[in-house]
């Protein structure tokens, strides 16, 4: 039996604005180390909401969540920040790089925050990740000087900097053309196969999900079996 990286048990979430309505009902599933999992479903079925909960950014839910076999219940915000920093790499649909920093600094920031390695070591690692992703020549540019595909690769490099337990993505290819989508998918696939990197990616691109190890399908806030 392989080890569980993430486990969700009976997660329910409600929105109260404008009327009470249940976005997620009884979400229970787990993810094993080294698997590439995709979440699919119609727009509005609650995929993003679920991902924000799994990534510890949203704490307003019922149910239990374990990351690395640790319950997140009753953890303070500072402790959750620490968990995000150390164990989760995040890739958003809209790149979300910090405009004021150059590519290299953007990649290094979470590493600097963790403070496990020296600055030189972090820089060295950042450059290595940029190399793997084929954008080492962009290292000193600012985000606004990059194309969409390049930005998303920078975001992936940043997600990798602390060797996270799991990388989460919310439609990371949603904003990219076919060529760049494929490129990003290939990178994910490679990370999974070569580095045993666990990945959890929300997508509504069937092409993308078809090629992952496991598909979790959602409908109206529930997981379809």
């Amino acid at each position: 039996m392989s080890e569980k990286v993430l486990e969700a048990i009976a997660i329910n979430k409600y929105f109260f604005d404008p009327v009470k309505f249940q976005v997620l009902s009884d979400i229970t599933f787990s993810i094993e180390k080294g698997t590439f999992v995709s979440i699919v479903g119609k727009s509005g079925c609650g995929k993003s909401t679920l991902l924000y909960i799994l990534s510890t950014m949203d704490t307003d839910y019922e149910g239990q969540l374990f990351i690395d076999n640790q319950s997140l219940y009753n953890k303070t915000n500072a402790e959750l920040s620490q968990v995000r920093n150390e164990k989760i790499g995040f890739v958003f649909q809209f790149h979300y790089l910090i405009e004021e920093f150059n590519v290299l600094r953007n990649v290094m920031l979470p590493g600097m925050k963790l403070g496990k390695f020296s600055e030189q070591e972090i820089e060295h690692r950042a450059i290595r990740h940029l190399e793997t992703l084929g954008i080492q020549d962009q290292a000193l540019k600012h985000p606004n000087q990059l194309s969409g595909g390049q930005k998303q690769r920078v975001a992936i490099a940043r997600a990798l900097i602390n060797d996270p337990l799991i990388i989460m993505g919310d439609e990371p290819t949603g904003n990219l053309d076919k060529k760049n989508s494929d490129l990003v998918f290939d990178i994910f696939k490679e990370l999974c196969q070569e580095k045993k990197q666990t990945l959890l990616v929300v997508t509504h691109d069937p092409d993308f999900s078809q090629r992952t190890d496991r598909i979790i399908e959602m409908q109206d806030g529930k997981i379809l079996v």
């Binding site: 993003s48 924000y52 950014m57 925050k113 919310d170």
Partner: protein, 419 residues
């Protein structure tokens, strides 16, 4: 490590918004500079005015007042105690204004720990004669070096030297008003008539000017010996003993003590010039409140800019939080931001404030009251710079605190979902 990282992030965010940051810092700079210039100038003025009056006035003056005799012989008899007594004809004895045992008193006071120094003085009314006219005036007989030490008379001597009084016998320094009326210049000889009718010729060695017509029209100075000779009195004859204390606040109590101890009359500076402190206090209060207001306005400037910055940087804040920076980290980043603005603006403010003070201290300022002062008085005191920077740091910290709190509470989910 973490702090350094947060500080660097703050610096980077600041650099991206350099123009607004400079404006915010300029607000602080302006506030501090004005505060320092204003307070230095105002306290400089206060000091000058202190010099004008307080420093010219002895803290304690001992003298002999001519009083009605308290002990009427008729009351000495116990028989008459509870009666109304109509015989009280004993007039004050003519003791004159002389202080008895003056040398002993002076020596005793000089040994007092609380005292800076003691200056004996004789004041005597005279007439200055010019042609057929007699001008009423006063000659102050002084011990030149001690008087100079305590009251810096030379600041007001416009022509001649105060020290000449002690060197040239029968010399006098007269008030500008008298000199003008009599049309005399230093080097001339004038005639004076004392209250006892004796006449003498005195050589004018200088002119003194206080800028107060009443004083300049009547006062003149000569050495103790000259005045004693003029009045035919012995070398121990003195009418006033002037005392300066190390601590001015002790004056009323010490005056009472001396009056009792030496059996003379005594007044203290507080009683004589009670309205004076008020003026000084009002000036300081005004300058402090203007300075503080300016700094608070600067604080609002910082508050505004940080608020704006936070709205512009919502995405960056969200991403920092999503990648593991805590609310506290974000808060620190924005507090650093405002402190950098505050410190940079503050230090520039100190420099600018010093520059302004320097400029003020070079602006020509002529006053009749202080002939030796040629430019505006400025009090260059370190303490105002310390107060200025401290207050600026406190203001910027508070101005940064509220926006920083807001930033720390930004919910990354809302921002990321909002895209």
């Amino acid at each position: 490590m973490n702090i350094r990282l947060l500080f660097n992030i703050a610096l980077t965010l600041l650099r991206a918004r350099i123009r607004q940051s400079v404006v915010a810092a300029a607000g602080v700079t302006f506030g501090i500079a004005m505060f320092i210039a204003l307070v230095s100038f105002m306290t400089g003025l206060n000091k000058m005015l202190d010099n004008l009056i307080l420093n010219r006035t002895p803290h304690i003056r001992l003298y002999n007042e001519i009083k009605p005799s308290h002990n009427q012989p008729v009351e000495l008899s116990s028989k008459n105690h509870n009666h109304q007594n109509f015989i009280h004809s004993i007039k004050p004895k003519d003791e004159g204004k002389e202080i008895y045992n003056s040398q002993k008193i002076i020596r005793a006071i000089k040994e007092d720990e609380r005292v800076i120094d003691v200056a004996p003085k004789i004041t005597t009314p005279v007439f200055f004669n010019t042609g057929t006219i007699e001008i009423a005036g006063i000659i102050n007989g002084i011990n030149v070096p001690v008087e100079e030490k305590l009251f810096s008379l030379s600041d007001n001597v416009t022509e001649g030297k105060i020290a000449d009084l002690a060197i040239i016998s029968n010399s006098i320094i007269i008030g500008k008003g008298i000199a003008d009326k009599m049309m005399v210049n230093p080097g001339d000889v004038i005639q004076v008539t004392t209250a006892q009718g004796e006449q003498a010729k005195l050589k004018v060695t200088g002119i003194i000017q206080f800028g107060i017509a009443e004083i300049d029209d009547t006062q003149s100075y000569a050495s103790l010996e000259t005045v004693q000779k003029l009045q035919g009195k012995p070398a121990s004859y003195i009418t006033d003993i002037q005392v300066k204390l190390k601590d001015l606040k002790m004056a009323p109590a010490t005056a009472k003590e001396y009056a009792r101890l030496f059996e003379v009359d005594a007044t203290d500076i507080q009683t004589a010039n009670s309205q004076f402190e008020t003026g000084s206090n009002v000036r300081s209060t005004i300058s402090y409140s203007v300075g503080v207001t300016l700094l608070i306005v600067a604080g609002f400037g910082i508050y505004n800019i940080l608020n704006m910055l936070i709205y512009e940087k919502m995405d960056s804040i969200a991403i920092l939080k999503a990648t593991g920076f805590s609310g506290k980290d974000v808060k620190l980043i924005f507090i650093f931001l405002s402190m950098i603005i505050g410190i940079a603006g503050g230090i520039l403010g100190l420099i600018l404030g010093y520059g302004l003070s320097l400029i003020i201290s070079h602006i020509p300022f002529e006053t009749q009251a202080l002939p030796t002062i040629k430019t505006y008085p400025v009090n260059f005191n370190m303490i105002y710079y310390v107060i200025g920077i401290t207050f600026a740091l406190i203001t910027t910290y508070i101005a940064g605190l509220f926006p920083a709190r807001k930033a720390s509470k930004v919910d990354p989910v809302i921002i990321i979902r909002g895209k």
